[in-house]
Symmetry: C2
Subunit: 565 residues, 2 copies
């Protein structure tokens, strides 16, 4: 049997993984990686942490866990993989089964034959049509070059002010990195919230946290111009005319697939601009696979194609493409449930599965949501806050989505949620899940289980919830429901909403029923710090004949609006 | 309708939860908790952390998250629940539907009628028939009194040496607490390993860690006597005659259900000594429920009854019992997959589902295991080690068990594993799971996914593994397989096994094939730090015609035996 020639275009996450996997399955194959950048196998998700000074050794972004740089020599020596860096693939000749290479160092052009080709061409930053993009001081954070540039800025300590255009994952991570570098950051997001994978309330809580760390967050505003003096950036001009002085601007308005090479070769491209692949990561040409940020993949829950440019998915896809290219189609990649997480200062923020926003956009109606606030560990172990939102299918009670933000252990919550969604677990199963419990790791009833419990109570009609958003809207609209804060006086002194609420500590409620509205049909909204006492308050009122009592979900801890103190 | 009388015997985890749940479902019911101890709703799992000085405010063990002590006044005021403390229930009259109370403060006896009774009588420490148990200095760690006693010892700094009898969860947590208090601890375990929910290898790694922190661990040895002078403990005498000087001994040889009250009332008791209940947490008397450490519950995976005295399960069971007692049987508790976790110094240690030991004991044969060592995060984010063992059903590839130990984020691993096992996910599903990834939380390919990948390779015959235990046995038996350490010379200088291995760095292997045995059928065992390079070494050798090549699973990081350096 002839030696199989496997050629991989792109040598970052998906490409490097595909090559390594192909080699493990076929020791004889000729495997070649073509990489436009000078570096290989970059840990791109680590760029913001190097910029932000979490570590100082640049080589760690390019090294194996034992410190060996993954350069062309490494790939050759350990894996017998040829890696051609600073080399661009300019065309694919599908008839001839060959690609055309352009060596950027020598300007030479050559051809390379393949039996199987894997396209891992990645994505590039969207560049909005904005005057001033060419100014000195305007950058992205997508490459090692960008990273080196921003790190130099950090180390030089010359830049005072920076604007980040876009409040998605990269925007938020860059915001943290620069703010921690001593730069005054303003993050500008065109939509009405940052972190679009979250629903508005949890995004707002995150925004509040970022603002608390000194960075300015402006939502619902675009940048209309970057203004310079002598070719150097001096300010960003917002659509409303506001001028934000800055010497640095980072474009972070999302990425789009590098699918031009594939498109020019006649491979099928999807409506989102990504290369279309099947479950084997195979393009419309059976000898060509594609993986990573350049492809569209299936959202398992909705059945629709999405762009999901995430480092973990790129690696998993690369592994599948590499296996199939080296053998026959037997490995499959099922798709995504769009799980994501990020750290933003002392907040951890993430989501898995459907948000309410997505569910609504899809026209779903038979779902239920609940917001829960609680601690990730017992108080005596220094437990920290988690605020989460769960979305379920009302028909069969399966969990469809889970979002979680806060200083607590969000990672554990989302890892569980991702597994629960993938395993199609219902809230009834989660309600009695046997989880790893000990005080250093969780409260006796884990936050995820507690959220399922509240959802059970809600479905059973015992817990009648109202979102903080609806409460705020009522308040803004001048409605005056009877608000009961069920906490203690000390707590009330420290922190309170100031929306006209009456403080009735739960322990005094049964003696103070006379202070409640005489009209048993009056709207009453109960809450407390996390709305557990609010729930008990509501149960007591209902038992006393009040017919229109609700609990504000998540209580004060999940309240994203202005407070009195 | 008459007011329902719900009586709950026991007011710690299950009892307090059952009472609270019953109240939320029925605002009219008369709910009474009878508690023998003076305290209520104690966070018993937190005792070792108070003893160890993780926090200093004793009241935190008894308080709500907002600092209110959960005493009888609290239960009355906030929940209209009557709590009778320092009161013992001496008998249940099932004909009359009443219990007999004995007030320990006044010595008075009385009767209390119930419509529904919930038994949450807990468990007590096993007391082996050991001379010297009565000595001053001998204790358990199961009650607030024990906790206060040990905390006083910590604070007084008089005790120099302590012996812990038993190396289970409580033993290990107490070991940490006392050692961190400046006491020289010796933990003695009769079985050949500590932490019986783990398989031997992972238990041994944990034992090594404990020993590295200065505590002595002796396995395979019982204590035959506690010896005293003037009524005070001075030494523990082991079965082999060794004398361990100590002024404190903590009995931690497991607990057994307090089921005598139930048994005397004629309720069905299981062969393990626990009260028998159905899925509604209902005993053999339909008006009597039971929950918590006093019951036997079903292991969901094996179908067999087990004792699972864990605080989280007690709470979940109490919730179900409370709901059913307050309404009709509608809530169910499915059982346990025996998930557990603990912190031991800088190690986190846990398991979910079946261990190999359990699988073997049940006569299972159609399973496969794999051990994996890896990092919980990228190196540049300060990733820490995880060593895990996965057990799957070979027939359908579902994950049956997962154990994980190490300084890394074991909590996330086990939370995922518990959900994956409960969701009956196969390794093929986990291999492409969409998990929350960002560098502060995990590597691009999470350790749990990587473990599933290795298992896939093993099932496909690509990864031929051998356990460290088998390698050690071969070595001890004088067998001399050809061992290849595939790491670099620097790594080898720092740390090595010293079992006759030859250092052949992976990058040099293809040039050094001449140094390998001429006999292509010679047994060769490859490894490296975590055995990824060991795997690649094995693949290259196999491609060069070697027929008997295996990879030592988990590499040097999972090696629990003595090393050369």
């Amino acid at each position: 049997m002839a030696t199989r020639k496997i050629v991989i275009v792109g040598g970052s996450a998906a490409g490097a993984k595909a090559a390594a996997r192909a080699r493990r399955l076929d020791q004889q194959a000729e495997i070649t990686i073509i990489q436009k950048d000078p570096d290989l196998s970059m840990a791109a998700c680590g760029y913001p942490y190097y910029v932000g000074g979490f570590f100082n050794d640049r080589n760690l972004l390019l090294a194996t866990p034992t410190g060996v740089t993954r350069n062309a020599g490494f790939f050759h020596k350990t894996k017998r993989i040829t890696a051609l860096v600073e080399t661009e693939v300019t065309a694919i000749d599908r008839q001839k089964k060959a690609i055309v290479l352009h060596d950027l160092k020598t300007d030479a052009t050559s051809e390379l034959a393949y039996d199987k080709l894997i396209l891992c061409t990645g994505a590039r930053t969207n560049r909005p049509p904005l005057p001033g993009l060419e100014l000195d001081g305007v950058t992205t954070l997508l490459s090692m070059q960008d990273t080196d540039y921003l790190r130099t800025i950090r180390d030089a300590q010359q830049v005072q002010e920076a604007v980040i255009i876009g409040g998605g994952l990269i925007g938020v991570e860059t915001c943290e990195a620069l703010q921690l570098s001593g730069i005054q950051v303003t993050m500008v997001e065109f939509q009405d919230q940052i972190l679009p994978f979250l629903d508005w309330e949890l995004a707002k809580l995150t925004e509040n946290h970022i603002a608390g760390k000194g960075a300015q967050v402006i939502t619902g505003q675009g940048v209309q111009e970057l203004r310079g003096t002598d070719g150097k950036l001096v300010a960003a001009i917002l659509q409303d005319g506001r001028e934000i002085p800055c010497q640095l601007a980072v474009l972070a308005v999302g990425v789009r697939p590098n699918s031009e090479l594939a498109g020019a070769a006649g491979l099928a491209i999807g409506s989102l601009g990504g290369i279309l692949i099947n479950e084997y990561m195979q393009t419309s040409d059976p000898d060509i696979y594609a993986a990573g940020d350049c492809v569209e993949i299936r959202n398992i829950q909705t059945g629709r194609n999405v762009l999901a440019p995430m480092g973990d998915l790129a690696n998993l896809q690369g592994r599948v493409a590499g296996e199939n290219a080296a053998s026959e189609n037997r490995a499959t990649f099922p798709g995504t449930i769009q799980t994501g997480i990020c750290k933003v200062f002392d907040f951890n923020v993430g989501a898995s599965g459907l948000s309410e926003k997505t569910a609504k956009a899809m026209g779903m109606t038979d779902y239920e949501t609940v917001i829960n606030a609680g601690s990730d560990k017992p108080g005596f172990m220094g437990g920290k806050l988690l605020v989460s939102k769960m979305l379920i299918d009302k028909a069969d009670k399966t969990i469809l989505g889970y979002q979680c933000v806060g200083p607590g252990d969000v990672s554990r919550q989302l890892a569980m949620a991702a597994m629960a969604i993938q395993g199609k677990l219902s809230i009834d199963a989660v309600a009695n899940a046997d989880l790893p419990y000990a005080p250093p790791f969780s409260p006796a009833i884990d936050h995820f289980i507690a959220t399922a419990h509240i959802m059970q109570n809600k479905l059973a009609g015992r817990f009648k919830g109202i979102s903080s958003m609806n409460v705020w809207q009522k308040h803004q609209a001048g409605e005056r429901p009877f608000f009961i804060d069920g906490r203690g006086p000390d707590e009330y002194e420290q922190l309170r909403l100031g929306i006209g609420e009456k403080l009735i500590p739960l322990g005094t409620l049964r003696e103070r029923l006379g202070e409640l509205p005489e009209d048993k049909n009056q709207e009453i909204i109960c809450f407390c710090k996390i709305s557990l006492r609010g729930y008990e308050t509501a149960l007591i009122l209902t038992a006393h004949g009040y017919t229109n009592v609700r609990v504000m979900e998540g209580g004060i801890m999940a309240w994203p609006f202005a407070r009195e103190k």
